[in-house]
Homo-oligomer: 453 residues x 2
C-alpha cells in the first residue's frame, strides 16, 4: 500500500487512466496511485467464486474456494518433438492440442495460446485459435487478450456461439490472462483487453511474472510486495469497469538462474511463491492462479517429471484455483511437447486422486471384514475387494507398473515412449464434438470477413 | 480399538508374549488383545521428539515435531545400471552408497540396508553393512533388525564405536525399522530385534506396509484402521521393555495394482495414506515415518521423476518426520539406481527449499529499493541482488537450466546422463572420515571374530 502511494503503477492506456480518474483515483501523467480504501472497495465487489460456462453444459468449470481447475500450457513458440528436436509450432499443432484437450480425462479447460502458430498471419491468428477452440473442443476456453481488438473479436465470436452477446454478459464463457509488465507497469494491449473483457462480463486473470533479481527484488518477500501492488491495480480496474466481474489473483513469479541470468521455472522458489500467492488471494477472498507442470528441462526426462510434479502439486495442495500450464511445458515456457503433455495429464489425475479426502465411515472401514479375515488372512478374494477394486484406485494410462522381466521383454520402454504411442492412438480415435452447422458457418464467416477487412 | 479387542494381534515371539502378560495384557495362545487404556499409557511414555547421535556431533539428527530427516532407500536386492540393466547388488555397491551418503548435501541419515549384498554370507552380512556404515560415513545410521542376534551385533558394535554400551543407552545412536506382518501379525525376528533395541535405548520405527486389496482392505479407511492396530501394538511393546525409549509411527501402505496384483508405490493412494498416517502420529504425539522418493518405474525417466517427487513432497509437506527411501529406489523397491539416487537427492534439496518459510520483514521487503527502482526499472545491478543472489536461491547441481541451442551443442544430455557423469566425479573426490584407529581395529575384529564363531 505504501508502495502504491509513493510510487504508483504506470498505466499505458488512455481509457484506463480516464476510468481511474473518473472514480477519484489519484493520477499523475500515466501513473496511478490507488489508496487502500479504493482497493478494498474493488476487492469487495470481486466474487469469491464463479462458473465459466462451456458450450457442453456438463463441462462448465467452477473457479474459486475449494475447487481447482487444470488448464493447458500457454504461450510456447516451439514444439520439442519426441526425438528432442526443437521446431517452430504451427496451426496444425494448435489443432492437435485442442483435440487432446477435448478428449482429456483430467484437463478441465481449453487454453487460448497453447502454442503460437508460426505459419499464420500474426494480425489474425488470435481468431484462428479461437475458432479451433470453439469447433474442436467443447470445454470452456481462455479468451484472447492480444489487444483491445483481439479481445473484441473473441467477444463477438463468443456472442455467435451463444446466440448473442447479451447471453454471455451475466455468465462468463471465457477467462483471459492479463499480465502486468513488471516492475509496476501495464501495457496498452493488456489493459485495452481487460477493459473490453470486463465490460462484456468475461473473467480475467490479473497476473504478474516477476523474475526475482531482475524484474523484481532478489528476496521473495520483496517480490510478493511488488506483485501484490501490480495485481491489485489490475483487479481494481476490472471492478471499476464492471462491478462484480469475475477476476483471479495470479502469479508465476520465480527466480532468475544465477549462472545464466535467465528465468528458472523449475526452481523451488517458484513453488514457495505459489504458496504465498494462494494465501494472499484467500486473504482477499478472490480465486488464485499459478503455474502448474513447469520445468526448465528441454526433454521429458526425470528432471521434467520431478520439477513439473512439484510445481503442479504445490499449486493444487496450497489451494490455487486456476492451475495454468498444467500440461505440456518444457524449457522454461519455450516449448510444448506432446509426450510431456500426456505425462503431465496423468500427473494431474494422480494429484486429483491424492487430494480427494479418504471417506472414513463404518462402511469404509468395515471392521466386520477385518475381523473375519483375521491375522494372517488375505483380502484378495473378499467380495468388497472385487466390488471396489476398479473404483477405489487410480488407474494409470501411461505409468509403468510391471516387473523387470516383463519390462525388458517389451523393449524397456520409458514413459515418454509410451506417451508417444498413446498419442497416435488417441488422435486416431478423436471425434469432433457436435455443433449447430449454422453456428459453425457464422463463426467461420466472421473470421473470414475479418481477415479480408 | 474394537479390532484389538475382538481379533487381537498375533505375536510370534515368546519373550514378547511374556512381556505383554507380565504387564497385564490379555494374551490367548500367541494372540495379544491390548486395551485402549494400556495403549494410551504406552503412547504417553513415548517421546514426541528425540535426537539420533552421530559420531560426528555436527551431524546428529533430530526426529520429531517440525523437523524432518531424509533417509536413503532400503532393502533393494538389485541395482539398475545407467544402461537400464538389472543386476544383483554387491557389497561394493553398498560401500558406494555409504560414500554417497557421507558426501550428501541433503541426506541427513545413513541407512542400514540400502541394498542387499548378494556376494556376502547371509548370516553375517548385517555386520559387514554395519561396519561400512560406521567407517565410511560419519552420519547417524539405521540399526540391524534382521533377528535378535542381528540387533545385538549392532548394539555391540555401536558400543565399541561410542566407548561402551552404557554410553548409548540414554542417547540413541541408531534407529531400526520394525515391520509388522500384515494383517495383524508380527514375526519372531522383528519382535526379537525390537526387544533388544528398546532394551538398549535404541530408537525403532514400528511400521506397517499393507497392500490395499491384498494384505489389507481395499478401502484406505480400512487400511488406516488395520495399520493403526498393528503399529500401536508394536509401540506398546517397546514402551513395556523400556519406558520412554524413542519410537516412530510408520507406514508405507499403498495400493495393489489391479492389472498385475503387485504392489504399486507410485500410486497416488500411497500419498493419500501418508497424509493420514502423519495425522495419526501427530494425534498420538509421536514422530511419524513414511516412504520418500518412491516409484514403480524401472528407469530414471519422467515417471520416476514425477512419482518420486510427489511421494517425497507429500511426506515432507504433511509433516512426516522420518522420510525413508528418499533417494535411489526404482521398480517398487526392487532396485536402487545410482543415477536416480543423485536426482532424488537434488529433489530433496528442492523440497527443503520449498518448505523453508519466506522471511517477511521490512528488510527483506526493502520498500526503499522498490521505490528507487520504480516502474520499468531493473534490479539486476542493485547491490542487494549481488549480495543475496548466491544465498537466496537454490543452486542446482544436476537440473539443467539452459536454452535449446546450448543444450543441443552440449549433446542434449538428459538429467540421468548428467547424474551419471557427476557420480564418477563425486566418488573420485570421496575421502574416508577420520576415526580413531583403535576403534576401527576393534570394530573390524568384532566382525571377524563373529564370522569365525
Amino acid at each position: 500500500m505504501e508502495l502504491l502511494k509513493t510510487t504508483g503503477v504506470v498505466v499505458n492506456e488512455d481509457e484506463a487512466l480516464d476510468i481511474f480518474k473518473k472514480h477519484g483515483y489519484k493520477v499523475e501523467g500515466k501513473t496511478v496511485f490507488p489508496t487502500e480504501a479504493q482497493l478494498q472497495k474493488a476487492l469487495a465487489s470481486a466474487p469469491a467464486k464463479f462458473t465459466i460456462e462451456a458450450r457442453n453444459p456438463k463441462k462448465s468449470v467452477n473457479i474459486g474456494e475449494d475447487d481447482f481447475a487444470f488448464f493447458p500450457g500457454y504461450g510456447a513458440p516451439y514444439i520439442i518433438t519426441a526425438q528432442g528436436q526443437q521446431r517452430e509450432a504451427t496451426m496444425e499443432d494448435y489443432d492437435t492440442f485442442c483435440k487432446l484437450i477435448h478428449t482429456s480425462k483430467y484437463l478441465d479447460m481449453n487454453g487460448w495460446m497453447m502454442i503460437e502458430p508460426s505459419d499464420m498471419p500474426v494480425e489474425t491468428v488470435h481468431m484462428d485459435m479461437m475458432l479451433s477452440n470453439m469447433l474442436l473442443c467443447d470445454k470452456p476456453f481462455m479468451g484472447s487478450p492480444s489487444s483491445r481488438q483481439g479481445a473484441l473479436d473473441g467477444i463477438e465470436m463468443a456472442g455467435i456461439l451463444w446466440g448473442g452477446k447479451d447471453k454471455i454478459i451475466e455468465k462468463p464463457v471465457s477467462i483471459s490472462l492479463i499480465n502486468s509488465l513488471s516492475p509496476l507497469q501495464f501495457s496498452e494491449e493488456m489493459l485495452g483487453s481487460l477493459i473490453e473483457l470486463a465490460r462484456h462480463g468475461q473473467a480475467c486473470i490479473v497476473a504478474s511474472l516477476i523474475m526475482a533479481g531482475a524484474s523484481g527484488p532478489v528476496t521473495l518477500a520483496g517480490v510478493l510486495a511488488l506483485q501484490n501492488a501490480e495485481i491489485l491495480t489490475g483487479i481494481a480496474l476490472s471492478q471499476l469497469v464492471r462491478e462484480g466481474v469475475p477476476v483471479v489473483y495470479g502469479s508465476t513469479s520465480s527466480a532468475m538462474d544465477m549462472k545464466t541470468g535467465a528465468l528458472s521455472i523449475g526452481a523451488p522458489e517458484l513453488s514457495k511463491n505459489v504458496n504465498y500467492t494462494a494465501q494472499m488471494a484467500r486473504f482477499y477472498k478472490i480465486p488464485s492462479r499459478s503455474g502448474g507442470g513447469l520445468t526448465d528441462a528441454l526433454y521429458p526426462d526425470a528432471q521434467a517429471g520431478a520439477e513439473s510434479a512439484l510445481a503442479l502439486y504445490t499449486a493444487a495442495r496450497n489451494g490455487i484455483n486456476v492451475i495454468l500450464h498444467a500440461c505440456g511445458i518444457l524449457g522454461s515456457y519455450i516449448a510444448m511437447s506432446f509426450e510431456k503433455f500426456l505425462i503431465d495429464e496423468e500427473v494431474c489425475g494422480m494429484v486429483r486422486q491424492m487430494l480427494k479426502p479418504i471417506e472414513i465411515s463404518d462402511d469404509s472401514i468395515d471392521l466386520d471384514m477385518i475381523v473375519k479375515v483375521g491375522p494372517g488372512g488375505q483380502y484378495l478374494t473378499q467380495a468388497k475387494t472385487f466390488k471396489l477394486c476398479r473404483t477405489e484406485f487410480f488407474l494409470p494410462d501411461l505409468m509403468i507398473r510391471t516387473n523387470y522381466d516383463n519390462w525388458e521383454a517389451s523393449g524397456k520402454k520409458k514413459v515418454h515412449e509410451v506417451a508417444d504411442n498413446k498419442l497416435t492412438q488417441r488422435l486416431a480415435k478423436y471425434e469432433k464434438p457436435d455443433i449447430d452447422p449454422s453456428i459453425e458457418h457464422d463463426l467461420t464467416e466472421y473470421v473470414n470477413s475479418r481477415k479480408i477487412s
